[in-house]
């Protein structure tokens, strides 16, 4: 029984390691820039719909707050990827 448990432990560690190193700095940088671009486009779409009175004002505020939070995270990631 010990052998089986050891085997499972090894494969699990292998998979987590494989997963972990999948994210090279270049990947992280690219992903962060796409996220930044995505949120810029989100805000553009929001402004267009706000102009036509499609979305209530409270919701628009929430989208802007979410955009701010995600952009901070993305820029931090970009800086981290850049320095690595």
């Amino acid at each position: 029984m010990r052998r089986v448990r050891l085997l499972c432990g090894l494969t699990l560690a292998g998979i987590v390691f494989l997963g972990g190193c999948g994210k090279s700095p270049a990947d992280q940088a690219r992903e962060a820039t796409t996220t930044l671009a995505s949120w810029k486009a989100t805000l553009r779409l929001l402004e267009a719909q706000e102009a036509r009175g499609v979305v209530p004002e409270a919701y628009a505020g929430q989208v802007r707050r979410a955009a701010e939070e995600e952009r901070e995270k993305a820029t931090a990631e970009l800086r981290k990827a850049g320095s690595r």
Partner: protein, 404 residues
């Protein structure tokens, strides 16, 4: 006449009960990031859940056992504990995701942060189970769930090219960002093949006292109901593919998903989205909390039944009375609801072999199904989807958790 009513009801349950936090967010993410490329994942998930729901209904109609009851009896307590723990954990996470969906709908509608809504939402879910009957939970949620058809209306107003949508049905590899593609595919399958859907369905068949006479109704309900449900999920994907994908918007937060309906349907679209999200997630939360109570009560032989007064099935009532506030605490803790939902869907896919194989074994056991055991098609289809989904999740999940 009543058989026709039962069929109509069954189909409505399929449509109304299908779309919830998981299938909506994964469809929106897939459409936004990969356009029509992942429609095949919804199709695969829908076929698989249609088979599983039909099997669970057939098991209940022929053997008069709901799924947990039959599993404990057939496999004994030792081999019952593993699927019990897996289904309970996954269902709990999905319950928290559904409560998250409800609180976000309330946040969009009122501007008050979703964390303030966690406790009131938990209280109202609990109150409906405390006072309600099984029929009310099942039929009420699916009737109201028809509001999710708003996504079909929105998709049609965006005039998608039928040929391109059809091409999305053909399984293919990703054109870019392979890791995210496979993770989204597996979370779509996890969202469609949620264990609570067929566990709850089997409990419903027993509560409604189904027998062999219901086998045709069961097949129609499962087939037509789930296919329509899948179509609603495809509609949500199409909306994301036409509204977000061209702008290069990828879905990282719930706040981006309302655009699916506000672009095509303007102001009405916004309130339809809030209504659809609220009702779909609220209905799913009711079903999951109830299913968790069935799971534990039937596993240990306690008195159970939503039609009984809480006093008459005290431990059954205790399970959902404890589980609902716990799930609300997860939302209260400030976890990002979208990330919680998507990870829960991938974990559902990871646990598929453990939650599905016991049902497959039961469906091939003449002791329970007499002459109504499974054909090889459903056996192979469900086993293949479960095995592949589990393997892909095993690789994709660490990548996603470590990546974000």
């Amino acid at each position: 006449m009543s058989k026709l009513f039962e069929i109509a009801l069954g189909v409505i349950t399929g449509i109304g009960g299908f779309l919830e936090a998981g299938s909506l967010t994964t469809a929106a993410q897939a459409g936004a990031a990969f356009g029509y490329q992942l429609i095949w994942a919804i199709a695969v998930g829908t076929v698989c859940i249609a088979f599983l729901v039909e099997m669970a209904g057939r098991l209940a109609a022929v053997s008069r056992h709901a799924l947990p009851d039959a599993m404990r009896e057939r496999f004994g307590i030792r081999f019952f504990l593993l699927p019990l723990a897996a289904v309970a954990l996954v269902s709990f996470l999905v319950l928290a995701s559904e409560i998250g969906g409800v609180t976000l709908a309330l946040e969009f509608a009122t501007g008050i942060s979703h964390r303030w809504w966690a406790i009131p939402t938990a209280l109202s879910i609990w109150l409906l189970l405390w006072k309600g009957t099984f029929g009310m939970v099942e039929k009420g949620t699916s009737m109201l769930g028809l509001v999710t058809l708003a996504f079909v209306v929105a998709a049609l107003t965006l005039h998608p090219h039928p040929a391109e949508v059809a091409r999305g049905l053909v399984p293919r590899g990703p054109t870019h960002d392979a890791a995210r593609y496979w993770f989204t595919a597996v979370s779509i399958v996890g969202a469609s093949v949620s264990p609570y859907l067929f566990y709850f369905y089997s409990a419903g068949a027993v509560e409604d006292q189904w027998d062999e006479g219901y086998l045709t109704i069961n097949r129609i309900t499962a087939g037509v109901g789930m296919t329509f449900g899948g179509a609603v999920a495809v509609a949500a994907l199409v909306c994301a593919a036409l509204v977000l994908h061209p702008q290069g918007i990828q879905v990282d937060r719930f706040e981006q998903i309302p655009f699916l309906l506000t672009s095509p349907l303007a102001r009405a679209g916004f309130w339809l989205f809030v209504g659809a999200l609220f009702i779909a997630c609220f209905g799913a939360a009711l079903e999951i909390a109830l299913q968790l109570a069935y799971l534990v009560a039937q596993g240990f032989g306690w008195r159970w039944g939503e039609n009984l007064q809480p006093r008459e099935a005290a431990r059954f009532a205790l399970v959902y009375t404890v589980v609902i506030p716990l799930a609300a605490l997860v939302i209260l803790s400030g976890i990002d609801p979208l990330k919680l939902t998507v990870i829960s869907m991938a974990l559902t896919a990871l646990s598929l072999p453990v939650t599905v194989v016991p049902l497959l074994i039961l469906m091939n056991d003449p002791q329970y199904l007499n002459e109504h055991t499974n054909g090889w098609v459903s056996n192979v289809a469900v086993l293949a989807v479960s095995a592949i989904a589990c393997l892909v999740a095993l690789v994709a999940l660490p990548l996603e958790i470590l990546g974000s």
